[in-house]
Amino acid sequence: MVLTWLIAIPMLGALAALALRHNGRGARAAALGAMVAELVLASWLWWSWGNAAIVPLPGGAWLEVFQHSWIPMIGASFLLAVDGLSLLMVLLTALIGAMSVLSAWRARVRRAGVFYFLLLWMLGAAVGIFLAMDLLLLYVFWEMMIIPLYFLIALWGGSGGPAAATKTFIFTQVSGLFMLVSSIGLVIWSGAGSFDYFSLIGVSAQLPSHIALWLMLGFLAAMAIKLPVVGVHTWLVDAHQQAPINGAVDLSGLVIKVGAYGLIRFLVPLFPDAAADFATVGRVLAVAGILYGGVMAFAQSDLKRLAAYITISHMGFVLLAVFVWNELALQGAVVLIISSALGAAGLFVMAGIVHARTGRRDLANLGGLWRTMPRLGGLSMALAMAAMGLPMLASFVGEILVLAGTLKVSVTFTALAAGGFVISVIYAPWLIQKVFQGKPTVDEDVVTGADDLSRRELAMLAAAVAVLVWLGVYPHSVLDTSAPAVRAIQQAGQPTHLKNAPPGPVRFNLEERP
């Protein structure tokens, strides 16, 4: 039941904000209250549950399951479950959600009630995605997340908002449809008769391999668009660029990576053999994303577009982990999903603050802001370090684990992915230089020392940086939670020919090499 509450709290907050639509302050207070409550509840569950699996079901180390009948005639039910992985994602959503509401706190949003309604509805749907273990229910939440995003970008976004919103809507809608078709196909072809995840694990092995491949590709397309994988990434960049300047939408709708979660939770465990057959292409796409994202980040002049390409580059590492599929890489991916979301959230908040203070977001017209805004400068420097994957910050732990896992499989892809380390040192210090260093370009009476971070902004950014540092120094706060889940998922996603073999020693595992 508590799982239902996790979804219901943001949605109730959304309804409260809508009810208070004639009172902007009330609406935002309701939104913040809901997200704080969500955060408290999720933290409490994290604290009290530990990580011992108690529900013996496949495909995760399940801590709690909730089922209610929904459409029994087609085998769909309201099925929620949580394991360490889902729980971390929910926590992340709550944290980013609270940051998201806070980032718009003083922005004098038009029609605040509707704005917060859409924002929280989207967050509730994201939590739903992380908990839904019924593919049809998953699709419902997936769609539920898309529609608010469309209105938020179209109505509150920049001058190109409607066009970017349409683009986003079409891409993500297509992604949802792919997933729906693949889900239905899987259920029908396998004869499972039910949409629930637990009974669908392993059924694809009985399918003819070409059918399994096409079904897998449907899921992959869905997750790839949302992730995004290079090639289907263009919507994300436009969406970030045109999202409202206060940054709330960047955070709540785009930074939280449901696609990354979907790849790990659904794609490979549902189609282990097809995913293994596709691994080389997947790795190529992953490495291409890392490098292309890096080069494009350097080439951008808009602060938000730059940050968007940084996340695309980081998501390449997650994709690589998915197509390497060992515990090392997957644990790395979990850390990366969290660190990338927090790092990107920080960068978008920074971009919003810079835009709000100077009226500019174009790198060519910025510079020298450190002199008047040293706090923002220092925290942005820390965020840039996180983007570069410097040790002591969480992203390093993620990236090095992914690379270590990849090296067990392929030297070439490890070396290519490590190229991302080099490119990140081109774009991240470049970003800092263009905004904070060099000659001040904004008049010092336009941006004065008093324009440095307010307490609210300081708290937001410092919290993001503090979590990044904490996870960089003691990543086991997260790794211990995710470990049982990741191990179970990894087992479920092993291709058939490896599954029957006893788990070999990790240490001298040279046979895995091609």
């Binding site: 263009t234 040790p391 380390f421 080099v422 040192v425």
Partner: protein
């Protein structure tokens, strides 16, 4: 025995960094100075105490590990946050803490009045903390953390005066060039882990000789580690960042060159030496890279106009000597030369900084001159540093260390050993020429700019103590039998199971005397060229072949231009080419096609009954035709 204070050595500077950052503007300057210097001073005291405890150990070669917490432990990929103290790391810790403390002390005067005073001390302390963690790290991943931390701090400090784009560019350059090496190192570390199943340094070194590590993986790992070391220690081909690193304040240069960044690569190879010994080709490559870089730096240093650039190329060259020593297995000599160089180079930089303070940040040596009487402390400091750097016989630590390296190279045997020895001799001459050239031009001759008096007890104290240390440090390694305790070379060499081939002291053989002769020869040449017959030097520089050679050396052998053309310009061009996001053309194309179809179809919706009727008739005919055709 527990090394109770070991963790404090790293924790104190780190705490100072945090305190200054979190204190922000609320912290007065006096507090920043106090915290900023006391922390590293405390680390030096803790190091001394630890050294005392260490001297009580029965088996010092085994070392001592201090576990703090588990950093990462995933599927066998295990890295503790743990410190490891053995003779090698102990020597490094002592040298780093003492030199860093003196540099920080000096900085309280040098940076006084700078708007970023707190930021400066925060970064410097982080730098020191990272370097100390680097030499104390118990496993390769923690070492890599510190390795990157050092790189980050160099970037932050080189671009410290960040409102001038050129400084930031120099900082980014240092970061990027060293990061290329770092990335190679990361892959090398992962390669070792994949094959050995451990990240722990001692376990890895023990296992490396085993059967699990057959084939090309070990030389590959050694090569990648060498690339990492070459990046941080500014060896060819990754040397280009160091000359530009002088964009930072002078104490930063002193710290980078003497105690932290540049020494990291030397330490890394010394630490991983058994791996290199298993890959003789890579081991030889270390020496070759060292010799090439040594000559490259020495020739470049001879023609620089900027005092800090002379010192920068000198550092590159001296690090080359250390690489030669490592390449012939004389790790003890390399570490001894590191200490001697750290002391003399920091002294030289701090003296140069004092000159810069007196002359309004003038750094062009040809605009200086005759400062000997006006700035006696700076002069004597520079003189002592220069004497040690160029290994003038006796009295200076540099003399003993360089001699050990050259003899080590010679005794490594074969024509290769002789070649390294000969290169070292040439380098010795060049070293004396370039450093005394700078000394003579800056301190002798006609006074060109009137110096302002530089006051400050901290500054004078730091210079004086360093000058004494430069001379006194020769005590740690005298020929055997001169002193009751073992020299630093023997002390460090205990670390290696197979005793590293050190130089046997060949008492007063020709080979042992030649380096001294070379140094004196160089000094004499510099004296003739820059004091007695300066016209001769100008004539050489202006001669038809001298001019181009001078310009070639001045530009650091055109490496910057080469890399610019090979890497930077293509990358920027590529970024510019893809900036428009060509992938999106596919989707805008789909949208355009959809719009086109929409327009075509909307034409058909004309509302004219005749057209609809005609379409209906034609459609019917076509359908009927199809039906008839398929049936018949």
């Amino acid at each position: 025995m527990r090394m109770s204070l070991l963790w404090l050595i790293v924790a104190l500077p780190l705490a100072a960094f945090l305190a200054i950052v979190l204190g922000g503007r609320a912290l007065p300057r006096a507090a920043v100075s106090a915290i900023g210097t006391a922390a590293t001073g405390g680390a030096a005291i803790a190091a001394a105490f630890t050294a005392y405890e260490f001297s009580q150990l029965v088996q010092p070669a085994e070392g001592i590990t201090q576990q703090l917490w588990t950093w990462i432990d995933v599927a066998g990929f295990t890295a503790q946050v743990a410190l490891y103290l053995d003779p090698l790391s102990l020597v490094m810790v002592l040298a780093v803490t003492v030199v860093s403390f003196l540099i920080l002390l000096y900085s309280t005067r040098f940076m006084a009045g700078d708007e970023g005073y707190g930021r400066f001390f925060a970064y410097m302390n982080l730098f020191v903390a990272m370097m100390l963690l680097l030499v104390l790290a118990d496993n390769l991943l923690l070492l890599y953390l510190a390795w990157e931390g050092v790189g980050l701090c160099s970037y932050l400090l080189i671009s410290f005066w960040q409102h001038q784009a050129a400084n930031v560019k120099a900082g980014r350059k240092a970061f990027l060039v060293t990061r290329i090496g770092d990335t190679a190192l990361a892959v090398g570390i992962l390669l070792l882990f994949t094959h050995l199943g451990t990240l722990n340094i001692r376990e890895a070194l023990d296992l490396a000789g085993g059967a699990a590590f057959a084939g090309s993986a070990l030389p590959a790992a050694a090569l990648l580690i060498l690339a990492g070391a070459a990046g941080k220690s500014a060896q060819l081909p990754l040397s280009i960042w160091l000359p530009d690193a002088m964009a930072g304040p002078t104490p930063v240069s002193a710290l980078i060159h003497a105690a932290t960044m540049a020494a990291a690569g030397v330490y890394l190879i010394a630490r991983m030496l058994p791996i290199f010994q298993l890959a003789p080709v890579v081991m030889a490559l270390v020496a070759v890279v060292g010799a090439a870089t040594m000559l490259y730096g020495a020739f470049s240093a001879m023609v620089q106009r900027d005092l800090k650039r002379v010192l920068a190329y000198s550092t590159i060259s001296q690090l080359g000597y250390m690489f030669i020593a490592l390449g012939v297995g004389a790790a003890g000599a390399a570490i001894f030369h590191f200490i001697a160089h750290a002391l003399s180079k920091s002294l030289l930089f701090l003296a140069a900084g004092a000159v810069a303070l007196a002359l309004h940040h003038q750094t062009d040596i040809f605009k200086m001159g005759g400062l000997r009487r006006a700035m006696p402390l700076a002069f004597w400091s520079f003189l002592i540093g220069a004497a040690s750097l160029s290994a003038l016989p006796l009295l200076t630590s540099g003399f003993f260390s360089k001699e050990l390296i050259l003899l080590g190279a010679l005794s490594s045997g074969g024509p290769g050993g002789v070649a390294l020895y000969a290169a070292g001799l040439i380098g010795s001459i060049l070293t004396a020429v370039y450093i005394f050239r700078a000394l003579f031009i800056v301190f002798m001759g006609r006074r060109k700019q009137e110096p302002e008096p530089v006051r400050g007890a901290a500054l004078a104290l730091a210079l004086a103590v360093l000058a004494v240390l430069v001379v006194a440090a020769s005590v740690i390694q005298l020929p055997p039998g001169w002193l009751p305790w073992p020299g630093v070379v023997e002390f460090v060499s205990q670390v290696y199971r197979a005793p590293a081939e050190g130089a046997e002291h060949q008492a007063l053989s020709v080979a042992a005397v030649l380096p001294s002769v070379a140094a004196i020869l160089g000094l004499a040449a510099a004296y003739v060229l820059f004091v007695r017959k300066p016209l001769l030097a100008f004539g050489l520089a202006a001669s038809p072949w001298g001019g181009p050679v001078r310009r070639f050396w001045l530009s650091g052998w055109q490496l910057d231009a080469l890399y610019d053309r090979l890497f930077v310009q293509p990358f920027v061009a590529a970024a510019r080419a893809v900036r428009r996001e060509w992938i999106d053309v596919l989707y805008t194309g789909i949208a355009a096609v959809a719009k086109l179809l929409h327009r075509i179809l909307s034409v058909s919706q004309s509302g004219r009954l005749r057209w609809y009727w005609a379409g209906f008739v034609i459609g019917t005919i076509v359908l009927l035709a199809i039906v008839v055709m398929t049936w018949s």
